[in-house]
């Protein structure tokens, strides 16, 4: 095994994930990033004062929390697709290296359960793809702050998967 090329492969994947996240202006605006450990993604919402809804508590805006969960779900679905294309190699994998990505999934419906007030600090989230159908995917997401077993919000919903490109 060539250890250097394995690390190069990891760097290539990390670069693709970073490009996939940062190409969306809204992700940059609210400050969402993804950390990858193998095939497991964790989203991070970097705290800034502009994310505060009610300054009296102070608490993250419920819409921002909902958006963070939805971004986590969409990125997980898109990343699964990107990962498969990169594994396959060939011209489509080369396009991803150049920052050209397959079409993103579209949200059909999205439900957010607010479990605890989101505090004025970073938040984290992980998505589970419960069903990855050819046309529709069902995804569940949980977000937390200080403790993984004390989620601040949970989301679930359906996403329309892009038509495979010819």
């Amino acid at each position: 095994m060539n250890g250097t090329s394995n690390q190069e492969e990891k760097d290539r994947r990390d670069a693709a994930l970073s490009a996939l996240t940062n190409r969306t202006p809204y992700n940059r605006f609210i400050g969402v990033e993804f950390e990858r450990m193998g095939d497991e993604l964790t989203a991070r919402l970097n705290y800034s004062r502009k994310l505060i809804g009610n300054p009296a508590i102070p608490a993250l805006h419920g819409g921002v929390t909902g958006a963070f969960l939805e971004i986590t779900a969409i990125t997980q679905l898109a990343w699964d697709e990107v990962w498969a294309v990169m594994e396959e190699g060939g011209p489509k994998a080369a396009e991803i290296d150049e920052g050209r990505f397959p079409k993103m999934p579209k949200t059909i419906d999205w439900t957010i359960d607010y479990l605890r007030s989101g505090r004025a600090r970073d938040a984290y989230a992980r998505a589970t793809v419960q069903k990855a159908g050819r046309r529709v995917a069902n995804v569940r997401v949980e977000a937390w702050q200080d403790a993984r077993d004390r989620p601040i919000a949970a989301g679930h919903g359906h996403f329309l998967m892009p038509e495979p490109e010819a």
Binding site: R23, T24, P25, Y26, N27, R28, F29, I30, R49, K50, L51, I52, G53, N54, P55, A56, H61, G62, G63, V64, G66, A67, F68, E70, I71, M104, K106, T107, I108, D109, W110, T111, I112, D113, Y114, S117
Partner: protein, 152 residues
């Protein structure tokens, strides 16, 4: 129509369309969110188009998270207006159904109403649109816990 009791800071400037900026609420201010009471338990909320809110660079369509934000805010304010308890409500859940992408360059609007209140829960619904209220971008339904005491 009489303005219901909204938690609006003193000195907020009303624009020519009667829209009031959500002054003192950091995220609302950051994205230029404004509101107008449409009667007890009813509210219109707007967010101007802004490139930083784009979710799809190829089409310029606003991110779904912004649609969630406008509907969460609208339904929340509607519930506060109906229950008369600013700060005394907490969102339990919110469901958003997406009908179509919003059109680039157009202001996003949301019309929301709190249609039922029980002793402890307020129910609200709303829809988001850009140029035509009969052609919604998304619809929403939410439940809010009334945590404050007194007033009712």
């Amino acid at each position: 129509m009489t303005q219901p009791p909204f938690p609006i800071a003193a000195g907020a400037v009303v624009d020519e369309a009667g829209m009031i900026p959500l002054h003192g609420f950091p995220h609302a201010e950051e994205i230029g969110m404004k509101m107008r009471a449409e009667g007890m338990g009813k509210v219109l909320v707007t967010i101007p188009y802004d490139e930083k809110l784009v979710g799809d660079v190829e089409t310029g369509v606003i991110h779904g998270g912004v649609v969630t934000t406008i509907l969460d805010t609208g339904c929340g304010i509607a519930a506060i207006s109906r229950t008369g308890m600013p700060g005394g409500i907490a969102t339990l859940d919110l469901r958003i159904d997406y009908m179509r992408p919003s059109k680039p360059d157009l202001m996003l609007q949301a019309s929301c109403e709190c249609y039922r209140v029980t002793r402890s829960v307020a129910f609200a619904r709303g829809f988001a649109y850009d140029d035509d209220p009969d052609d919604p971008v998304a619809t929403a339904a939410g439940a809010f816990m009334i945590t404050g005491r007194g007033g009712r």
